[in-house]
Symmetry: none
Subunit: 258 residues, 2 copies
């Protein structure tokens, strides 16, 4: 008896498209049609479905993963579609960490990259509100403490007033913070009020606050203020304008270019 090769299920096919997209940034409708052995009309319908669910970006002739910087996609890349800058920034941050430090890891893809580098280390006490970071570090040889709080799905972090309970009862040596954007006038800002609240909390409980932000964050304002530049002791970035450099100098902020 012959083995009949069944056509893939819709769900299976959509998963396939997403997997393929993770490997190459963009895919043509025609290529997908050949690869998956269905008509182009079907591929177009699949792409539309996936787009409506926010899983990819549609372009003429095919599809791409969402543009980087879109919060929805910050974490969808398992592989670490992490830019080179973010890796260098994380590596520079790693140098600041000493044995037996108690550190805080904020949410965001840059900090997550730092967590990856810490995976193979040991002996630190790591406090975090990021479930992605916790997930990475759970098998490591660090002491791991989670802040608790209301779960925010978009950033996969625990935020809000409830997280304050724990944060108020601890002090860390170094807090590694991320941000959506920062401006000269208004300092750091983010999209969610609860998240901003938690960021402010932890910054007040850290001996040293270190901001990790690539050049794309500078000059970009977001919705809610999450701290002023005065709160920072150190900033790590890949490149910076003269304006910001001058301001950091005035404020006595240690600037590290990675």
């Amino acid at each position: 008896m012959a083995i009949i090769s069944h056509r893939k299920l819709t769900a299976e096919r959509e998963q396939c498209i997403l997997d393929l997209l993770k490997q190459s940034d963009a895919l043509a409708v025609s290529a997908l049609s050949e690869q998956l052995e269905v008509s182009e009309a079907t591929i177009r319908r699949d792409l539309q479905n996936l787009h409506e669910r926010g899983l990819l970006e549609r372009v003429h002739g095919g599809a791409t993963l969402k543009a980087v910087g879109q919060p929805e996609l910050l974490f969808s890349d398992k592989e670490g579609k992490c830019s080179d800058e973010k890796q260098r920034i994380a590596a520079a941050a790693l140098e600041l960490i000493q044995q037996h430090d108690t550190i805080y890891l904020d949410g965001g893809s840059t900090i997550l990259q730092l967590a990856r580098l810490l995976e193979s280390r040991s002996g630190l006490t790591i406090v975090t509100n990021s479930l992605m970071a916790a997930s990475l570090l759970m098998e490591s040889r660090h002491r791991l403490i989670l802040t608790g709080g209301e779960f925010r799905a978009l950033s996969r972090t625990m935020v809000g007033p409830l997280s304050a309970s724990i944060l108020q009862s601890i002090t860390v040596d170094k807090a590694f913070m991320g941000t959506i954007g920062l401006t000269l006038n208004d300092g750091m800002s983010t999209t969610d009020a609860n998240e901003a609240f938690t960021k402010k909390q932890i910054m007040s409980r850290s001996r040293q606050v270190i901001l990790l932000a690539d050049h794309s964050k500078f000059g970009v304002p977001s919705f809610v203020n999450s701290g002023s530049l005065e709160d920072l002791q150190t900033v790590i970035t890949d490149s910076i304008s003269d304006e910001f450099r001058k301001r950091f100098n005035e404020l006595g902020i240690h600037l590290i270019l990675a």
Copy 2:
């Protein structure tokens, strides 16, 4: 005389489907029908049953383990073993939950099964110290609150004094608790002191405490006491000895046999 190959029992077949699903992302009804040598109608009934028990997702033409495009779980159950008893106990617990309830989910595989059943529901406020439960419910339409605390790798839970900060500031309607063992004399007990501490904390902050424990837990002592039988309002199990039944009766504990 040839050996007649008996058709598989329903339970056997359903287990088979789950095993096959773990190997490939998605399976077609037609493929399963051939593989297991039963009609497609039967496969559809099996898939519907498994779906109602929260063990798979149904898609047109077949079934998948998780919805397409959903990121993989951050924290997953390594063993993943879930006996039939635990499923029934979880299903019975589900019936106790009402719309808009605020509930607490403890760690443990039985409670995790309950979390699976809650995945497709919505509108609850769910507090948990279990990262596996949180990971399952991450994308669901509930309000999700994590307790925070020190991460205990073995149980993938947040425990210890730090978790008390949040627990003291909340009250839940129903706490669904697991345990390593319970005895007539010493009540519930578990292996880790921090875990026991957290269990006692939440039980004191819940209007109703519901213990989910299969028969293997009864009469088995563990290391640290994590609460007395008097703390319980309801116990759900699959079978129970007369001694325990009598004691529960004396204490006014509502016993549910699943």
